[in-house]
């Protein structure tokens, strides 16, 4: 076995996993606060990546202006979706809400195809090009710098959850909605902000992933991998999202390198199936007792 190759592949996988962790964090944030399983997260990523394409490619803005603009655009999209389509569904059955998010996903795909056509696109390269070596291991610069940017946002989020007053409001809402209301917390606002900041994380990851692998209206499929991540980690666990994100990213890349690209998804779904058998609530998810 070629350990150098394995090391390089693993490194690339772990870096990719860092971005998965970021997307999963966005997903978990929305789920924790609002109990909505957001199937449109991959499409929100895609939308933000296309926005980046429009700003950086079409309008020829500097990538470092286009990136924040695209991310803000994706966040606003999340906020608008919550306010106009998810909020009216408050109190409806979870299945109906899930169907709404699936509907939103296909609307976004249609919209993107309408504006940018269905052809695959390449994002203008904006990350440094010098190869990155960690010890003897080579890492593609796009992946390495993408990881660093993603990890920075991830750390900001984690610190915010843990130590800020807003983080307390979010966790309080996640823990007991009615009690959060009775503390004077504006729960509807927390819902909206969870969507905004969840979409922000997804949008940034979307641009970074698209920068390494290209962009097409099918980009949202990545949402499936993220779904695996959050289910393995436990839907409502931030720690789970991080650990499972890194792990699934690594597994996908390694499986892709050794078994061939077509085995990427099957490998992760096998893990998913095994985890679900052993721990139905995911690695770190809370056991929930449904009360009627």
């Amino acid at each position: 076995m070629d350990w150098l190759f394995f090391g390089e592949i693993s490194l690339a996988g772990l870096a990719m996993g860092g971005l998965y962790a970021l997307i999963a964090l966005g997903f978990v944030m929305i789920y924790k606060a609002t109990r909505v399983i957001n199937f449109a997260i991959g499409e929100i990523m895609m939308f933000a990546a296309y926005l980046f394409l429009a700003f950086a490619g079409g309008m020829e803005l500097s990538a470092w202006i286009a990136l924040p603009l695209a991310v803000i655009g994706g966040s606003i999209l999340g906020g608008v979706i919550e306010k106009t389509m998810i909020r009216p569904m408050l109190g409806e059955s979870p299945i109906s809400v899930v169907m709404v998010t699936i509907g939103i996903a296909s609307i976004l795909v249609g919209l993107v195809e309408f504006v940018w056509t269905a052809d695959p696109q390449l994002l203008p390269n904006f990350l440094p090009r010098e190869p990155v070596f960690i010890g003897p291991l080579y890492l593609a610069p796009k992946i390495a710098y993408g990881f660093l940017i993603g990890a920075a946002l991830l750390i900001v989020y984690l610190l915010y959850f843990r130590f800020s007053r807003g983080g307390v409001a979010l966790r309080a809402t996640a823990s007991d909605q009615a009690a959060a209301y009775s503390m004077g917390i504006n729960v509807r606002r927390v819902f909206n902000l969870a969507w905004v900041f969840g979409s922000l994380a997804a949008s940034l990851a979307g641009v970074l992933v698209a920068a390494t692998g290209g962009l097409s209206p099918q980009f949202g499929i990545i949402g499936l991998s993220v779904l695996v991540v959050v289910i393995v980690g436990g839907l409502d666990s931030i720690l789970g999202a991080l650990v499972a994100g890194v792990f699934i990213g690594w597994l996908e890349t390694v499986a892709g390198a050794y078994l061939g690209g077509e085995y990427r998804m099957p490998a992760t779904f096998v893990v998913l199936a095994v985890i679900l058998v052993i721990r139905p609530y995911g690695l770190f998810g809370t056991h929930e007792i449904e009360r009627v």
Binding site: V168, R171, S175, D176, S182, M183, G184, I185, N186, V187
Partner: protein, 269 residues
């Protein structure tokens, strides 16, 4: 005395089908402790929820009547606004945020101060002053506190909010008698020292009437008897059915006289 809270003939229906309150009225004067007593399922908690606006979360609706807080109709005011206006509801079962620390639970309550009073830096000290045990445990997860400590935390959150009225839903629930006494002593102290009015919902009539100045007793969604506590505790029916004292003749009644019990219990018949 000026009324802080007035409930005027309200009716509440859940799921558009089940009527729980049938024309209930009560008032809480400024700075007073008022007890609302009644057995399981009488509609006590529903009464509080229809005041604090949490009813809508459970698909309940006030279909008639009016609730006024400081003279203003609360209809259509979102729950968090009411809290910020000084009406704090401590829900049944304490409802602490279990995966937050004690301190974070108190921080969550500072949202009640949004937009009006500045958050007092010593308000945490005030809470810890009333409940020294919470100070020892302030870095612990609230879920690991004992029932009594959780009730203290629930009261502590209310103190942080500096409300004009605290609505307390069954603070004695599941607590040992000694602890119940401790909690009620502190409730009375809060009322005395902070001037906070308290609407106390309880099944435990004896301790409630001991600290309240006025009491209401409800059954099947309406008030069946009310009056100043001295008058209530002197009432023969209240003594027998809520305070567990024997009948007027001083003898304890056995369940053999159950028919008699049933007949007597219909207040308005």
């Amino acid at each position: 005395m000026e009324a802080l809270l007035e409930i005027d003939n309200i009716e509440v229906v859940y799921n558009k089908a089940v009527q729980v309150l049938r024309g209930l009225s009560l008032r809480v004067p400024k700075g007073a402790i008022v007890a609302l007593l009644g057995s399981n399922g009488a509609g006590k908690s529903t009464t509080l929820k229809s005041v604090s606006g949490l009813l809508t979360l459970e698909d309940g609706e006030v279909t008639a009547g009016e609730v006024r807080f400081r003279g203003k109709d609360v209809k259509g005011v979102p729950p968090e606004k009411l809290v910020r206006n000084g009406l704090f509801h401590v829900m049944e079962g304490r409802r602490v945020f279990e995966d937050l620390t004690v301190e974070e639970n108190l921080i969550a309550a500072t949202y009640a101060l949004t937009g009006n009073k500045p958050s007092l830096s010593d308000s945490y000290e005030l809470v810890y002053n009333y409940f020294p045990r919470l100070k020892e445990r302030r870095k612990q997860l609230a879920g690991y506190l004992s029932g009594g400590e959780q009730q203290m935390l629930a009261l502590g959150r209310a103190l942080i909010a500096q409300p004009d009225l605290i609505m307390l839903d069954e603070p004695s629930l599941g607590l040992a008698p000694l602890l119940v006494e401790e909690i009620f002593t502190i409730v009375a102290r809060i009322n005395r020292e902070q001037g906070t009015a308290i609407l106390l919902v309880e099944q435990n009539a004896a301790v409630s009437l001991a600290i309240a100045s006025y009491g209401y007793i409800m059954e099947n969604g309406k008030i069946v008897i009310d009056g100043p506590t001295e008058k209530l505790t002197a009432n023969e029916d209240v003594q027998e059915f809520y305070l567990g004292v024997g009948g007027a003749e001083g003898e304890t009644r056995s369940y053999r006289d159950i028919k008699h019990y049933k007949r007597r219990k219909r207040w308005l018949s």
